[in-house]
């Protein structure tokens, strides 16, 4: 039914990408990710705790790079330089793995991306051989520029990271989709299952989320819901929805009524 999602040199069955932040513990993280059916999983890089509980469990012991495509992100970076440095460390950490999620924030409060820094970091990373999936604003001009520049996926926000407001900008997303040659993945803002369906029904190639699953009352169940939602929205997009009309239209024949 649904063709695979091709991102750069890789190909995937699932169109749902998930983060690993904000879960109660690593067991819940793993179980939710399994329930989501996601093949691409984002992680962050942080300083290793020195000394104290140095043998605490490690995320990658639960989410094995052998089973999932690990997507290191540059969350927390506010400059191109920091973002690039983080990607370099990630590549070393993951033995040369070159697929990264670039994210350069402009502000702590809204976590809105800084597009000037994002563009500059993307250039550097692409030249250095990275396959860049880029979190960006819903500005169609920048999305096109990132697409032309060679990012393997352009990932505009649906609404602010962690807001759960859903697709507040369907018009922008539609315009972005019209101009795109790379997979457009809605990143950030999804709050519940129908938000993910709506993104896919607009024609997006995938959805990336974290908080909507991790902060649901029952994360594992919400992960299942999101898996179904992305598939459902994709199918609905491919199936071609009916036209809308202000007035109704009978579902039952109007001939042959008894008298």
């Amino acid at each position: 039914m649904t063709s695979p999602l091709r991102i750069g040199s890789r190909s995937f069955e699932s169109r749902l990408l998930v983060g690993t932040g904000k879960y109660k513990n690593l067991e819940e993280t793993r179980d939710a990710i399994i329930a989501s059916g996601a093949e691409i999983v984002t992680v962050a890089l942080r300083r290793t705790n020195i000394g104290q509980n140095s043998d605490e469990p490690n995320l990658l012991d639960f989410i094995s790079p052998d089973k999932w495509t690990i997507l290191p992100n540059t969350a927390g970076c506010f400059s191109a330089e920091d973002a690039v440095r983080t990607c370099m460390l990630a590549r070393e950490l993951l033995d040369g793995h070159n697929l990264v999620k670039l994210e350069v924030l402009g502000e702590k409060k809204t976590l809105y991306p800084n597009m000037t820094q994002t563009i500059s970091a993307a250039k550097t990373l692409i030249e250095d051989g990275f396959e860049v999936m880029v979190y960006c604003s819903d500005d169609p001009i920048f999305c096109k520029e990132l697409d032309d520049m060679g990012c393997v996926s352009v990932m505009p926000l649906a609404s602010p990271i962690g807001s759960g407001l859903g697709i507040v900008n369907p018009h922008s997303i539609s315009i972005i989709l019209e101009n795109s040659t790379k997979p457009i993945i809605v990143d950030a803002g999804v709050g519940t299952a129908s938000d993910a369906s709506i993104a896919m029904e607009l024609g997006c190639d995938g959805v990336l989320m974290n908080t909507a699953i991790a902060k649901a009352a029952k994360p594992i169940l919400m992960a299942e819901a999101m898996k179904d939602a992305v598939i459902s929205g994709r199918k609905a997009f491919l199936a071609g929805r009916m036209q809308k009309t202000l007035f109704g239209n009978a579902s039952s024949p109007i001939q042959g009524l008894i008298e």
């Binding site: 043998d55 995320l59 969350a75 440095r85 370099m88």
Partner: protein, 69 residues
């Protein structure tokens, strides 16, 4: 052979004698863990850890993967 002081993940750290990055990682129980080391702003590939001696005043960052969105 004298003691050295270097910065490790932002903390001043003292060692009685010089050691290489591999020895440091082992001391920190990082063997068999996935981590990456940056030394004075340069990434040091795993292959070079044993050959890389920590000198007095070095600035070392050791990072690993954590949950993130």
């Amino acid at each position: 052979m004298s003691a050295i002081v270097f910065k490790l993940n932002g903390e001043l750290t003292q060692k009685p004698k010089e050691l290489n990055l591999n020895e440091l990682a082992n001391e920190l129980n990082l063997f068999r863990k996935k981590f990456a080391i940056e030394m004075n702003g340069e990434i040091i590939p795993k292959s070079s850890h044993s050959a890389t001696l920590i000198k007095d005043g070095d600035v070392i960052e050791i990072v690993h993967a954590v949950g993130g969105g």
